[in-house]
Symmetry: C2
Subunit: 438 residues, 2 copies
Amino acid sequence: MITPQIPKGFRDFLPLKMIFRQKVIEVMTTVFETFGFEPVDTPCIEYAETLEGKYGEEGERLIYKFQDRGGRMVALRYDLTIPLCRIMSMYPEIVKPFKCYHIAPVWRADKPQKGRFREFYQCDIDIIGTDSVYADGELLIITYSVLKNLGFKNFLMRINNRKVLNGFALKEGIDKKDVLFFLRSVDKLDKIGPEGVWQELSKKGLFGKDSETRFIDLMSSDAGSNADRLGEMDKLVEGVPVGEEGIKELKIINETLTAHGVPEKYYQFDFTLARGLDYYTGPIFETVVKEPKIGSITGGGRYDNLIGLFSKKSFPATGTSFGLERIVTVMEELVSDKPNVAKTQVLITLFETGLMSMNLKLAKTLREAGIKTEVYFSPDKLKKQLTYAANRGIPFVIILGPDESNEGKVTLKNMDIGKQVTIPQSDMVRKIQENLSR
Amino acid sequence: MITPQIPKGFRDFLPLKMIFRQKVIEVMTTVFETFGFEPVDTPCIEYAETLEGKYGEEGERLIYKFQDRGGRMVALRYDLTIPLCRIMSMYPEIVKPFKCYHIAPVWRADKPQKGRFREFYQCDIDIIGTDSVYADGELLIITYSVLKNLGFKNFLMRINNRKVLNGFALKEGIDKKDVLFFLRSVDKLDKIGPEGVWQELSKKGLFGKDSETRFIDLMSSDAGSNADRLGEMDKLVEGVPVGEEGIKELKIINETLTAHGVPEKYYQFDFTLARGLDYYTGPIFETVVKEPKIGSITGGGRYDNLIGLFSKKSFPATGTSFGLERIVTVMEELVSDKPNVAKTQVLITLFETGLMSMNLKLAKTLREAGIKTEVYFSPDKLKKQLTYAANRGIPFVIILGPDESNEGKVTLKNMDIGKQVTIPQSDMVRKIQENLSR
């Protein structure tokens, strides 16, 4: 006998969990499609060389790789962005700008811990083939709409621009080769705090002792309206063209969110947001919730040079990713009005095998009226059949004995209140629909 | 630069293909849920030992295996039945009978050819914890309903029972150890023909020369009503209890299909159906189409002993699997009324950047009315924007110039007929909805 078990960091989803996940995905896809995004999918397995060298040193170690039958190294999909870049370079017939969504599992050989799994779903939206910052703004409108439609009440979309960070680094006299080090240090702010970032940067000699207070203040600033914050960021890059361009782009994002009526409390321009991945080139963004402590629930940004890794013709691109597991975790802990859970609505009990044909006909009538209906398969004691309905949470039971059958009637039992009525079979659908709509 | 490519036998799905697959899956899940089935999912990766020794010699060779970080052998999911059996033994809290559906990719290192891929989707429904043959009958009602709802007009559900085949083998004096050989030979009927099966069986000494005509006739019989066919099968196993039990079960299935009103032309009891897998114990079934030549599009049966491989407490079980790729292939070639393809319904063009805020507000109004709407991101020449709408197949375009904006109007262009009208913005939603419903 084989011990039934699954590898660590992997999960089974039984119906309750699964239905909840399906509902979250349905809310997302409805919003995505309302904004004109269309679905794509890619294989779970890619050639290893397609993924290698894209995710930084740490990411590289987490890729699941193995040898194919043909002796070539293949890898399990690590994220959805690189496969999308591959697609864009393989199929020139795709009409640009291309707006697509991709909801699929990815794999990382990470240490499993609370909220972190080795197999998890990403839900990505991307806009390829336009350098307009309105596209970045749209991704944020969609983020806002999805979270609102899921019932989130407290969340904050943090927004920055790599161009602003680059402009600042330039203005502070940081050498071009050290800018990535600077970005990666700032990205650790949440983990090591302003002093920690300062330590790293001054040790590397990127800032002098005289900048300490100013820099730590900068990393700690969390107040002010978005207009004020943009004004302050503007000063940090004044006179540096790339930085000023970055500010201009953030102002366009602000205009986009305002035009859509996104209240200011849901987003904040934040100079300290860096995002870990190397490939971002423009606006970057993520969404955080205060409780539970779970990191960001969405994240993304503009990556204008990434498709160029796969083809001579590159395309400007921007995208964002919703973390399904984290969103589900937050909803389970915090959001009160979870989406309704689909369930069987009626169970038809079986009094004796001779009545099964009659039951099947009643079931057919109910199903044709869109009522989710199960027939019980064995002529077990009625009590056992009712217990099954109760355990499953099925709200209505139809009981058909020989008397009811002869008289063209059924008994309808409401499991919630425990009452039952005997009614003509011709009233059955109407009566159940009335009860369900209450 | 990396050459963008994917391994052989794997596929990318661009929107048109993807939307079509989504629609097929949606039709399936709607039917499944109407019959009270609920979704489950399992990891794509299982411990190798969970899968090994279940799929026969040929299947065994096709399992993708590799070593995990911890040095344990893992494998990509090969089918959905074995993971379900593992689930049933791991979670005793699941209420039985358990009716579930599972739609997910599986992997087989098979030689890629037309309609056969290394990564493909299975759509399984299973009923665990009842030995009632009404459950098997229900799977066939669902098969019929799904295919009808997908627009299939010509298909045949072939139905047999392993108990009938076993009863026949017993009556013919075939040794118990040779029954599996007998079943596997009969399973090759479609490939090697009645004479081929006969060759194999007589070579093995399972039938004497005197049975040749009778046996070949038996393997070739394709006529008669289902009642007649059941009568003939009954004679083949007369006096052998297991065979007679098998016939009784097939009669219950016939009763079930009749009660649901499934016309007889859609199903046939067929003594020559054997199904390849070793683990079936009772009713077995598959669906075939005449054109295109693509093999069976669904297949399944009862497997009462399989869960016992994972736990002391076994459960009777029956299930069937819909082959998504084959169903999609048949639909693309044959079914005329494909499900509607979802698409963006309105494009709002951008005359000049200063009008973007106005466009965003119009887009918000349309989206809130449920109209799938895109805004164009760059103030390109109108002709370029209209070409984009035409290439994407977007049926309506909203044009907003400074005059329209000042007067609170928009121009609505119908891309199909090429005509445009200027209307008040307050009429926009109603006008588009009217046009879309035509």
